[in-house]
Amino acid sequence: MSDSIISISGLNKWFGEFHVLRDINLDVASQERIVICGPSGSGKSTLIRCINRLEEHQEGSIIVDGTELSHDIKDIDSIRREVGMVFQQFNLFPHLTVLENCTLAPIWVRKLPREEAETQAMGYLERVRIPDQANKYPGQLSGGQQQRVAIARSLCMHPKIMLFDEPTSALDPEMIKEVLEVMVDLAQSGMTMLVVTHEMGFASQVADRVIFMDDGQIVEENIPSEFFENPRSDRTKLFLGQILSH
């Protein structure tokens, strides 16, 4: 699969004695949208955190857009510049305004002129529908607004790939909707996305593939309609039964 933008093969990772990821093989095509689900502790967050080296893997290879992740700092830097990430806890910088959150990396990493970085940031803030909050501090915003700023902040670096690590798990129900809308919008614009989430509605609406993980392994992967209607393994059936019944 030479046209894949992410290529993971034979990936193994341990936290001390604990084997978190076991023989993961995964290829992601450009513009593909993948939803990863599974019970907590199944290794799904760890998997996407390996893609931008927030976690180091011990065995196997991860190739992102032609560059293999190694101990080479230059390679890690160039991969991180192309991979954006959105966290469960938003992780906005509380001492900077919303606008400064969005311009910091473009100015210091991409070396953009301030005015250009600000214009671009305002563009993305409009896209996530909060341009009027640009001069406030993160502490003054609601959770949903903060998560949308976090998405805009990532987009300001023009990533080719966006990773989402449970982006709506820390939000109130009515705020989940506004964040998901932004993510659907992004998916429709052709962004390559890997999303760890339990929002099955989002999965069936936008995902090209759904991956189910348990115990550090990929148990099942399929297109959403097949995945939800005809799950193959018992483990998947049990999980879907629990998550869809409530």
């Binding site: 910088f93 910091l104 990396a105 003054q140």
Partner: protein, 384 residues
């Protein structure tokens, strides 16, 4: 309003309790004052600050201003106060540098670095300061005698009489070097402004710190040589019994300085470490995910947030260092307490001397606190 209601009324209760407290304090104060006055009268001692104008008739070997045994007690106090301020300023400077470096190093992923710094912090924090001051003093006194002293390139000498450095002798035309230094600072300031503006406009990043260093150090140096070396150095020369020339730092000052800065530095290291750890791991991860290198993450994300946590306890450490410098009395460094002790013995004005101590330390401490609180307010976080 009924009487019972006053006791359950939050505000009325607060006012009454405070009035009672003030009354109690006044009674205690009145007792202390009347008792002291009575005792002084019985002992036939005159009170008041008139003694400050009398001749001191003792020598002080460590002095920043003109002083000899014919000077007054008042002047002796000033000499002592300046000596305290000298060691406090030197100590705060060194302790801050040691503390920040050690605090960051203790968080290093390198096992040896973090362990070595950990050992330094634990050892220094857990041995009483007085013992450390005496330890360093003994170390310096145990250095070889002047004749067999250690010399560094025949310009800096280390021996049991302290440290001797070349003393600058200012000649005609030396002023131009000061002008060059001022120019270097001014140009650096301008460059920093221009660099910020240029980065805003074009995005290019200019290495301001490196250039600034080169200018501030280089410009006066070049001027010095171009102007035909207008500052001469009186380099110490080994004589028969003692070093001749140069400028001597006493063993007491060196010992006190080293002890105060390593001791307080260890506490500051812990404060800095706690401050950095108080910034969540998510901040480092988010910054890394955006492509910022660790150095930039530290400068732009971690430290600005950590400082909010670091400043208040750092202020306490500065105040501690200043007040701890009064332990100088143990090794005979002539700080305000040491000199005050002598004055107390000679004049018998114990209360007055102690009141001067208190006023002196209080003034310095309040000034330090005011400055640090102002700085802390400047970097406070906006929420809601």
């Amino acid at each position: 309003m009924r009487v019972q209601r006053i006791w359950t009324d939050e505000r009325a209760r607060g006012v009454i309790l405070q009035l009672l407290l003030i009354l109690a304090l006044l009674l205690v104060l009145a007792f202390i004052v009347s008792n002291t006055v009575a005792n002084l009268q019985r002992a036939g001692l005159a009170s008041g600050y008139g003694f400050l104008g009398s001749t001191a008739s003792f020598d002080i070997n460590q002095r920043l201003i003109q002083y000899d045994s014919t000077s007054t007690y008042g002047r002796a106090f000033v000499v002592g106060g300046l000596n305290t301020i000298l060691v406090a300023c030197l100590g705060i400077l060194a302790a801050t540098i040691i503390g920040f470096v050690a605090g960051v190093m203790r968080l290093s992923r390198n096992f040896f670095i973090s362990r070595i710094v950990g050992a330094y912090v634990e050892f220094t924090r857990n041995v009483p300061l007085l013992i450390q001051i005496i330890f360093w003093w003994v170390v310096i006194l145990a250095l070889p005698k002047v004749r067999d002293g250690i010399s560094f390139g025949d310009t800096l000498f280390l021996n049991n009489r302290g440290v001797r450095l070349p003393a600058p002798i200012i000649e005609d035309g030396a002023g131009i070097i000061l002008v060059a230094l001022a120019l270097g600072i001014a140009i650096t300031w301008q460059i920093a402004r221009r660099a910020r503006k240029r980065q805003d406009e074009t995005g290019q990043i200019f290495p301001v710190v490196r250039t600034g260093f080169a200018l501030i150090i280089g410009l006066p140096l070049v001027t010095y040589f171009l102007a035909g070396s207008p500052i001469d150095f009186d380099i110490p020369v080994a004589g028969k019994f003692n070093l001749k020339g140069g400028f001597n730092i006493t063993p007491e000052l060196v010992a006190l300085w080293v002890a105060l800065s390593t001791y307080t530095g260890a506490f500051i290291a812990e404060v800095v470490r706690a401050g950095i750890l108080s910034v969540g791991k998510g901040q480092t991860e988010a910054s890394g995910a955006l492509g910022l290198r660790p150095g930039l993450t530290m400068r732009k994300i971690i430290l600005p947030q950590a400082l909010r946590v670091i400043i208040p306890p750092l202020t306490s450490q500065y105040l501690n260092l200043t007040k701890n410098s009064s332990l100088a009395v143990a090794i005979g460094y002539q700080d305000i307490v040491s000199i005050g002790d002598t004055i107390m013995n000679q004049s018998g004005q114990a209360l007055e001397v102690i009141s001067i101590y208190m006023l002196f330390y209080l003034t310095i401490s309040v000034l330090t606190s005011l400055f640090m609180n102002w700085y802390n307010a400047r970097i406070a976080l906006v929420e809601r």
